[in-house]
Symmetry: C2
Subunit: 440 residues, 2 copies
């Protein structure tokens, strides 16, 4: 993409109303623009990150055997009446009346609707187990939306719902999602710690939050120092079809102490001594097992193998997709701007033409751009007629993993400069060797 | 995907309230489920089609130089007040009041918001031209939602917005979208005819609807018989960077008569004589040039090359992504069910195991499934313990382009049956040759 034809409204000023660094950098870097309190338009660069994150989430859901579908944003109030949640949910639910005076709402979550949809078709034990998910915009009418996309009102969530015939099966579904979550966050380069959590309005008796560490986090968390190690998705390779291996793995992942403020265990903390760590954390995922909480009020049962009715047991599993954009920046930035992990970077390379007014520099940069594009390398080509300093500042601010700088002095010696954003490391290399590195 | 683990609630009964064939087949084929009047959940099979269509739309927008972003579904009423459309829009706009008594609405379209967003950052002639687009859910509170996803209330639309410095430039943007639309629909196997159209509430003086022919269409259309030829995307290959070639191409595409009911020209029709055709049509896309209709009330100007202010001229360009699912079925079905064009089929192959209770048939079918999956062929594997007749009926109903049938008699002779859904042609071929055909 040529920057001269792109829409990347970067800004030097730090917006006064943005309290945390991810919010500041998302506004300054032209990733989002606020359009109402707690509601954001995703500008082209931010949209690309959102889609990268969404795709990683999708791949890991699919890998865990969950099936993608898509529920609407607007729900009939009746779904919530049937489960008794309509009145209970409170003012965070955006309630709507249509032109025919029917009561609707903008879905904040989908347990009620999805259980009803699944109930309509699932009649036999052979229709279970199933995990269904969708990635859809939700709305929660927060009284004080803040921290940009981290606590917005309209937000993108992946929510999955499992249906099983018995508790053992429901535990397998839960464990599959548990592992999928560890893998999902690890693939984004995040260290997400599973912590026992309260179940809140979703209900149920088993729940984990997945929390990443950041000074701006909304809650205080306590954990064994073993969680300081950054793990990769390969460390979470376990066969989702093998329920015994799955349980053993989840047990090993929950053996070391990790708890949110509400779930602290003073005895365990005391026993840990120097191995105890404390930090602030950001919740990026939350999984729940709630049994028959939704199937029972809806009268949902299927015929079991012996013909007798069985009430399916359920769980739900959420990942804050749009929130992750902010969380990733909280975890990956420096004074100059964002440092995108490779897996979620909006483009891989910032190609900087230092002298757009110099024909030979421009023709060299154009050729490099063409070759990177042909090789399928996502490249943002700064071909604008601007000074080098402004271009460097923009490249650092938007944080693409690589910067490839083409200038007259280098070209005279047959070299370009390759900079790794994360480390700041710069190298002068030949054009061929830069291309080989970036297309590898 | 193994059907025994999928969520595909097909039904034999034709739903009483579904008047047109696409609506009937989408319900019967388990593609969607209605969750409120004019609002649908996209079940896994329907969701896959929706994403295929969305991706073709996206690729052709990108090819035309449009830049993807994503605006929220909920808009502040102020955007619409600023352009004077808030009161004018009428009861189809879903108006919402939040907990702080702020007036919001569920966006039915985005001219007002996007012009404001773009205005905020575009200050110079160098920031133009631009075409920005998003693919986002919209809501129009239809008084009588009907025809399933064809005239639903919550619907997925691709809407693009162009900004140019002068009329000649605006015409180039318009032409680019014109060609992108022809290509988009042709890639889906649709014959979409561009017709001069009224501009309605969007405003402006130049507009084309893209209409496909179907007996269930909402409007009567009239056209030269030349449009009976089905064209492919290759027939619409024109360099989007060459404005002269672009205009000549658009002129050639609008030379032959084609008009909706409101835009009929009796003199031209009379001159056509036997070459005139009449049909009912479904609108799948609509493009508008509206000049300064939105930039003027917003006071949007940029500094021109000589420093003097220039008011950008705009157009907007919509494709009904969710509506296309219905339109495609209207254009592609028979008595037995849907016949998906290859480009939008949810899976390429329906692999039918005729005897799931027979170990050797199942192991052959399992192996074929594994090899198709390894080759990246999207396969829905009917591994359920059901009779062959029910499996054939399901396969025909959901309309995947190919059916590969594995049964005991064939296997004894070393063959499987390969059926092309569109033609009904069946062939007995060896497993290897079937695999070679499907992976080619």
């Amino acid at each position: 993409m040529r920057l001269s034809r792109y829409f990347l409204p970067v800004s030097k000023e730090t917006p006064a109303d943005a309290q945390i660094v991810s919010h500041q950098l998302m506004l300054r870097g032209g990733l989002v623009r606020q359009t109402a309190a707690g509601i954001y338009a995703w500008l082209p660069l931010g949209h690309r990150v959102l889609r990268k994150i969404e795709q990683i989430v999708r791949e890991e859901q699919d890998r865990a055997g969950a099936i993608e579908m898509l529920m609407p944003t607007i729900q009939a109030a009746d779904y919530w009446r049937a489960t008794g949640r309509y009145d209970a949910y409170g003012p965070e639910m955006l309630r709507i009346v249509d032109r025919q005076d029917r009561e609707l709402l903008y879905g904040p979550t989908n347990e009620d609707m999805l259980t009803a949809i699944f109930q309509h078709s699932a009649k036999s034990y052979r229709d279970l187990p199933r995990i269904l998910y969708h990635i859809q915009w939700k709305f929660r009418d927060e009284i004080r939306p803040r921290f940009g996309v981290m606590r917005g009102r309209e937000f993108l969530m992946k929510d999955a719902y499992s249906f099983d015939l018995d508790e053992a099966g429901a535990r397998v579904s839960y464990n599959r999602m548990f592992v999928a979550y560890l893998r999902t966050f690890a693939r984004m380069g995040l260290r997400a710690i599973p912590m026992q959590a309260d179940t809140g309005p979703i209900g149920g008796d088993l729940s984990h939050e997945f929390i990443i560490l950041a000074p701006s986090g909304e809650s205080e968390v306590f954990f064994h120092k073993s969680w300081e190690t950054l793990r990769s998705a390969e460390d979470y390779a376990v066969d989702a079809e093998d329920s015994t291996a799955l349980q053993a793995f989840v047990d090993s992942m929950t053996a070391d102490y990790a708890a949110t403020d509400e779930k602290r265990d003073e005895a365990r903390e005391a026993a840990l001594g120097d191995d105890l760590r404390q930090s602030r954390g950001i919740e990026v995922g939350h999984i729940f097992y709630f049994g028959d909480k939704y199937s029972k009020p809806l009268g949902f049962s299927v015929s079991g193998p012996d013909g007798s009715p069985v009430t399916p047991l359920g769980g739900s599993y959420g990942i804050g997709v749009s929130r992750l954009v902010g969380a990733l920046i909280e975890a990956n930035h420096d004074e100059a701007g964002i440092i995108w992990p490779d897996a979620v970077a909006p483009f891989k390379v910032a190609l900087v033409n230092m002298r757009a007014d110099d024909g030979s520099v421009t023709s060299a940069a154009d050729e490099i751009y063409g070759r990177l594009s042909d090789a399928g390398v996502e490249t943002l080509y700064d071909d604008r007629d601007e000074r080098g300093g402004a271009k460097f500042a923009t490249a650092d601010l938007i944080g693409l993993p690589w910067q490839l700088i083409v200038g007259p002095r280098g070209l005279a010696n047959g070299v370009v400069e390759l900079k790794r954003r994360a480390t700041g490391e710069r190298e002068e290399v030949s054009i061929e060797s830069a291309l080989a590195r970036l297309t590898a």
